[in-house]
Symmetry: C2
DNA sequence: TTTTGCACCGTGCACGTGCACATATTTGTT
DNA sequence: AACAAATATGTGCACGTGCACGGTGCAAAA
């Protein structure tokens, strides 16, 4: 691998001039610049990362992480992934500042403002689906503070990249899975989450669309929206199952399913149940054969990838290859948890 | 984070002495050493990776990679993972030397010898299951050339770590999956691979054991061993299906399943088929609804992790946390490929 | 002619570590 | 007492990059 020193020697200039060209610092004769750039191209010069990191040692990166829930298992896993990657990248000397908010627009906006005044250089967040957040992200982008969205996206904003699931595909996968384990015949009840978050809608769209095209024997008997993620779902599911006795399968679009599963246990029915993610409670219900299978969105990897992408940008100036970084979906049953 | 310089100042010695203590270079007064080690512990000193890498710049690492098949899709994926990680770790300035052999003990032994004479500093290999290979690995370990096994292990050797599947768990997962998609009732035919490789046996053990314990409605109607991985399986499967007309499910323990699937197509039967990995041909058969589901062992990640572990050891002297690094098993259906 | 300003370029330090070499101190020998 | 040997410690360079500072040369203004 070529170094700046070698390039300088070949171009007959000093290392400083090469540095000015490569870092667009100006004050270079156009001809000299051209010559240097040619050599750079010829040698396929790639800056030495260890050198960059070492030189950047003193100015420590401050990175903000803004997620939901004070002890939400999914976002806890995202944080775990972030922290592991942080350790791996320890020599970049960056620090993570974590904030968790309730599921509230105002709180999230306030947290972002706090981050800005604290002087973070980059932000990883799971954005609330609201135009105000979009504007805030755009504002930060203009201030040269890159944002990465995880788990939920803000597609029309100036965010640097999205790391998370393709929710339409989540729905399709759930449909395909249900089709497989019911041999193509089922009456399914859907318990969805708040549509203040886009992902639930998309998970239903993908699901219903796929059923329509491929699974004539599966019908949707009922859909209920469960705003409070978990606590209220017990009654909802009980209610749904008594109203629709034909139901022999359930599809939960949110990861908090404990209450709903308790309801299933209560009824004593043998249902096929499909959920998302593998939280502790979900794993418990899988071992009890209440949940048949779960579709995992790899929160740990989401966190790790998010930090990777952000650090690559901040330290090495490398833009992510794609704005949409969709995670692999992995189906888990109790045997491969 | 503390640096050697800071430790030296606190201990009232020079950086060189600290260096001698930390790198076990000797020639240090026991009292001084004790004092330094105390400060090291107190400050929780972690060496700066960028510094280490930069200092190690000139001596380039040569790492050998020894896999099977000249164009085997699974091992190609392992190589892809290796190469991606290599790029990520580009600043360690290490080079990968790849060798592929046929599925032959002699060839593999010869390849290892060639690597040794070429002067590699570390080896990643998928070992043939033979005592001669074990001895060779031990010999290398004694020569201070660490070995990492991928995909298949050599448990009793002095290899640094194994990166790959837990094959017993693979079998269990296959059984659980079959149980789920057949609603607990099936007559299954098993097509296994050469037991020159341990993994097939373990995949069958895990499978049968799990069936015995949990799935009374599933019976194994036939088992055939298919040494040649793929080409001969067409006839075998045709033969098996005609001999055992009750069979309504197939379990392939090897990833090469194209011939077998062609046989299934030929018969026109609607079977539940479970396989491993998601090679191109496997994906094709999933889209045609011949294969119901496949259990992926993440070859890409195996390659990436193997290089990670090896470089961590060679560059930073960090021992892997565990000898057995089992990959997450991910079930794929056609919707989440 | 001297001075000022500008465009362009070189030098040198810092970052943290590994390692070779030089230096200082103590111990042992004649 | 003088000197060698052994032990213990310090010094300085290299690695590749970023960046501040200080030049040099040349033209225009004083």
């Amino acid at each position: 691998m070529a170094t700046m020193k070698e390039i300088a020697e070949l171009a007959g200039v000093s290392r400083g001039t090469v540095d000015r060209v490569l870092n667009h610092r100006g004050d270079v004769n156009p001809e000299t610049e051209k010559k240097i750039l040619e050599i750079v191209k010829l040698l396929n010069y790639q800056p030495n990362k260890a050198g960059i990191v070492l030189a950047a040692q003193k100015k420590k990166l401050k990175i903000g992480v803004l997620l939901f829930g004070s002890e939400h298992p999914f976002f806890d896993a995202v944080m775990d992934g972030l922290r592991q990657k942080l350790e791996e990248l320890s020599f970049y000397g960056c620090t993570i500042y974590e904030k968790r908010t309730a599921f509230s627009l105002e709180e999230q906006l306030a947290a972002i403002d706090a981050f800005i005044t604290e002087g973070i250089q980059g932000l990883i967040l799971s954005p609330f689906n609201d135009i105000a957040i979009q504007k805030k992200i755009d504002y930060m982008a203009d201030m040269n503070i890159p944002c990465i969205t995880v788990n939920t996206d803000m597609p029309d904003s100036k965010r640097l990249a999205y790391i998370g699931s393709d929710y339409y595909k989540c729905g399709q996968t759930a449909a395909g899975l249900l089709n497989l384990i019911t041999n193509g015949n089922a009456n399914v009840g859907i318990i969805t989450g708040s549509h203040k978050v886009l992902c639930h809608e998309e998970r239903i769209e993908g699901f219903t669309h796929h059923l329509k095209l491929n699974c004539p024997g599966i019908t949707i008997s009922a859909i209920v929206e469960n705003n409070d993620d978990d606590y209220t779902s017990y009654d909802m599911v009980l209610n749904m199952l008594s109203k629709h006795p034909k139901i022999n399968a359930l599809y939960f679009t949110a990861s908090g399913v404990y209450g709903g599963c308790q309801a299933v246990i209560r009824t004593g029915l043998k249902l096929k149940v499909i959920t998302f993610d593998a939280l502790d409670t979900t794993q418990e219900m899988m071992r009890k054969d209440i949940i048949s299978a779960t579709i995992c969105q790899q929160p740990f990897e989401q966190g790790a990838n998010a930090l990777s992408v952000l650090v690559d940008y901040l330290v090495f100036g490398k833009l992510p290859e794609t704005e949409l970084n969709h995670m692999d979906l992995s189906i888990k049953i109790k045997e491969n948890l």
